[in-house]
């Protein structure tokens, strides 16, 4: 029998990957295009990156995105971790199933619905939309992802470690900080990075919940593209891809550290 993949296998994998990554490669490549036209190559240049630095609106948008990401990811990590602890350690409290369902629902909820409902809430509360409504919205939906990641780690976590700590005279809250948290730290860190990445590239929820003066990078890009694609957009997208790739790589590294953790 013939070993290894057939020509059909190679071709189908190649085509599939090309369909996924060729557009991205093109986008990155044309960010270094010297010309103004996005489809005609006219030499290598970094002028669009320079233009990007000059572009105050873009810079503001990037700064807002970064701040929203940092604040919402941190808040979501704290809340999501507590939710996971409640789910795993709380035993069979009343409404546990409902609580678990409510934690998981946003994972499958269409973003449009979540954005719209948050918008309606802010309107009903008479809350002017801006930086903080956006941060709150991002915290809300990224929290669920953190809870799922941390919960997976907590389920594997040896309960007797916590019992041993308490047995040795450590009160419950200090046990959580000195024994549980250091051991689930990789999952908590991975949850934070996931939340940060999700916040970074969210467009839909941000469009509904943000207001004037709090335009995020994805929103800025989207509105500019409607006026026509410029190589400057390519440049900012390339940077965004770089940031997300870095986040994913770090997440993977942390994840590997987690699997290395002794039994």
């Amino acid at each position: 029998m013939r070993r290894g993949p057939s020509w059909f296998n190679i071709a189908s994998v190649g085509l599939g990957l090309a369909f996924l990554y060729l557009p991205i490669v093109l986008l990155v490549a044309y960010s270094f295009n010297a010309g103004r036209l996005v489809t005609v190559w006219s030499g290598f240049s970094t002028r669009w990156y320079a233009a990007l630095i000059e572009d105050e609106e873009m810079r503001d948008a990037a700064w807002i995105t970064l701040r929203v990401g940092l604040i919402s990811a941190s808040a979501a990590t704290v809340l999501g971790t507590l939710a996971a602890v409640g789910l795993v350690r709380g035993g069979l409290f009343r409404g546990r199933l409902l609580f678990a369902g409510m934690i998981y629902a946003p994972l499958v909820m269409p973003e449009v619905i979540m954005g719209l409902s948050l918008l309606l809430l802010f309107v009903a509360l008479g809350q002017a939309r801006g930086f903080w409504t956006l941060t709150a919205a991002h915290t809300t939906f990224t929290l669920c992802y953190v809870a799922v990641v941390v919960q997976a780690r907590l389920v594997d976590f040896d309960r007797s470690l916590e019992e041993a700590a308490q047995d040795l005279g450590c009160p419950p809250w200090r046990t959580f900080l000195t024994v549980t948290l250091p051991n689930i730290a990789p999952a908590v860190a991975a949850g934070w990075m996931l939340a940060f990445t999700l916040s970074l590239d969210d467009l839909v929820v941000a469009s509904f919940t943000s207001g004037p003066g709090a335009t995020t990078l994805p929103m800025r890009i989207y509105s500019q593209v409607r006026l026509g694609v410029s190589p400057e957009i390519n440049a900012v997208c390339t940077l965004l891809i770089g940031a997300v790739a870095l986040g994913v790589a770090l997440w993977g590294l942390v994840g590997r550290a987690r699997t290395r953790a002794p039994v």
Binding site: D158, S160, L161, E163, A164, A165, Q166, D167, L168, G169, C170, P171, P172, R174, V179, P182, N183, A261, P262
Partner: protein, 386 residues
Amino acid sequence: MARRLNIGAVRSSFAPWADPAAVPLARFEGVTKRFGDAVAVAGVSLDIYEREFFALLGPSGCGKTTLMRLLAGFETPDAGRVLLGGQDLAGVPPHRRPVNMMFQSYALFPHLNVFDNVAFGLRQDAMPKAEIRARVEEMLEMVQMASLARRRPDQLSGGQRQRVALARAIARRPRMLLLDEPMAALDKKLREETQFELKELQARLGLTFLIVTHDQEEAMTVADRIAVMRDGAIEQVATPAEIYEAPASRYVADFLGDVNLFEARVDRVEPGAAQVRLASAECPAGFTALDDDAPAPATQVWLAVRPEKMTIALEPPPPGTPNVLEGQVWDIGYTGDWTTYLVDLAEDRTIRVARANASRLVDRPIGREDKVWVSFAPDAGVVLTR
């Protein structure tokens, strides 16, 4: 009562349980614990004394670990009280109880090295740093782990982890050390060594140890007293020798070591001789047994006889010998120090007879299918009523 019988091959002067004035260190009073519909511990009352090495022995699921966890504070009793040093422990959380536990999984903190694991409990109290250091070093020295103080738990072997777990559990000088299957993860040779080390350590530190185990040999080797548990209740509490030589029930007799049980009925109690005659379908001549507390005639009983207390011969014993059974050798197990003969008495009725291989040369070795006579002395059997 005619005659007190001395039981077992061990004499010990340590027996606070026999002293009516002694105050127990730990006391269970009618403790019951349920998990849903399942009763894990059913009305257990038990006293454990200062400096005692006490073993809870039973098969898995008999409630022995739950009983220990009730003392550590990880479970709360549904009924009854748990007392330590006369104080009711109800409402006292685990971190305020003066007992420490060595977990079956050892539960060493993977993010801390050996030194910090042992120091963990000491750091919870406001103990000066220098003192912590000295105590940890003393503990590690004691378990011969001082040279590996900077290692992480995942860089240690199973035996080394066990030592660190032990050092960590005794570092706080608890009033009582709880050991949950402490040697289950060790191989046989290491386990035997560790058993004697543990006993030696307990005597040296003068601590009270409570060990949970399913290994009867382990319990018999280390413990001053053993509580044999079954389905959440205690079957018998006694010294290892008493448990083995004078079991309280068929369950205990069968759980510890091998035993042959004969169904019988009390025929006659000899006044003044502590001797009972038993009628049994298995021995037409009837059995004779020694018992200083024999049940009334006509009571249904079981005669329990350990295989090593029986003798096996190729010729019939002289007439008048008590407790003689005729049979045929069905199989033989030779283990070096012992030879075990499986003897068929009748259809579907096999007993075990064991013989210590005290001499290397045997005049007439016994082979398979040989016709044999098995006999045992009146003091070899135990009369059991349950």
